[in-house]
């Protein structure tokens, strides 16, 4: 029979979980905002194990404490492993085996930096080429087609045909015209 937790039980369990999460957070030198996540993790683990609780063998607080400690141990192992895989290092760390005194910041290219991970454009030459391509495409396309191009970045031609205001046949005719003009301007289709 599943054990129902009363509000009084929760009053006992919550401080235990908070204390264990606080201890874990300090031990692993994790940011304080992660403490709440750890606490939730421990409480969830306890709920999953609550069916094994036997009141004849001890109090709920003792059972919860053991559960929290085991969960904290597993969390600590996982977090340490993740940290090791991440190779945390300072950008100001010196690079060994170099004649000059170089730091990590000197040898990591911008294309492998944080901005690149977030999908931002880091290659200045590529950005310039893209800008020139856009200017060229803008000059070749008819002014009235700019709105259609903008709408096509948000939805497919099929959806745009349904939304209007352009009739479907007119829309597809204009898309075909745009493609041919772009081809003539030296901008080939991406696929």
């Amino acid at each position: 029979m599943p054990i129902q937790l009363s509000l009084a039980d929760l009053d006992v369990i919550h401080p235990l979980a908070r204390r264990e999460a606080h201890r874990l957070c300090r031990t692993l030198v994790r940011p304080s905002h992660e403490q709440e996540d750890m606490e939730q993790d421990m409480l969830l683990d306890l709920l999953a194990r609550l069916a094994s609780f036997d009141p004849a063998r001890g109090s709920l607080a003792a059972f919860a404490t053991v559960c929290f400690q085991h969960r904290a141990s597993r969390l600590a192992t996982r977090l340490r492993r993740e940290r090791r895989e991440r190779h945390e290092a300072s950008l100001e760390d010196a690079v060994p085996g170099q004649e000059e005194e170089l730091t990590l910041a000197d040898i990591i290219p911008e294309s492998e930096g944080y901005a690149a991970w977030c999908g931002q454009q880091t290659d200045a030459v590529a950005a310039l080429e893209r800008r020139l391509d856009l200017d060229r495409a803008g000059a070749i396309l008819d002014q009235r087609d700019h709105g259609v191009c903008a709408a096509l970045t948000q939805c497919t031609p099929h959806e745009l045909g349904h939304q209007g205001p352009l009739p479907r046949s007119v829309l597809y005719r204009r898309i075909r015209e745009m493609r041919l003009r772009l081809l003539a301007g030296g901008i080939a289709a991406a696929a």
């Binding site: 200017d135 000059a139 700019h146 903008a150 003009r181 081809l183 030296g186 901008i187 080939a188």
Partner: protein
């Protein structure tokens, strides 16, 4: 060992609107292509029926596309006479402007406002 360099501007016949535009996109200033040989006005006329319907339609489209490219100042159209009702219709790539006026920036500014 000799290495064959593929000519990206080579066009595989029959010429279509898309292949003509692709050729022009890769062409240098002054490059030319003969997009038709014969008597265009006669051959595209539906009443004379010089060509089957699908070929005539394709030729009409090709000729119309060449005309549009000329209207866009991307190419010049020439004809070379070989004999009676025998002409080469030639499209010559024009020089592209060294710098295009930015047409995207004003749009972005309008959208940002």
């Amino acid at each position: 060992m000799d290495t064959n360099i593929t000519d990206i501007r080579a066009v595989v016949p029959p010429l279509t609107e898309a292949s003509l535009c692709t050729w022009l996109g890769a062409a240098a200033s002054g490059d030319s292509i003969t997009y038709h040989r014969g008597a265009l006005a006669r051959e595209v006329c539906p009443h004379l029926q010089c060509l089957p319907a699908h070929e005539r339609t394709a030729l009409q489209r090709l000729a119309a596309r060449a005309w549009k490219l000329a209207e866009l100042d991307l190419a010049d159209l020439l004809q070379r006479r070989h004999g009676y009702e025998d002409y080469s219709y030639i499209l010559v790539a024009r020089r592209r402007p060294r710098r295009y006026a930015s047409s995207i920036l004003p749009l972005l500014l309008v959208e940002a406002a």
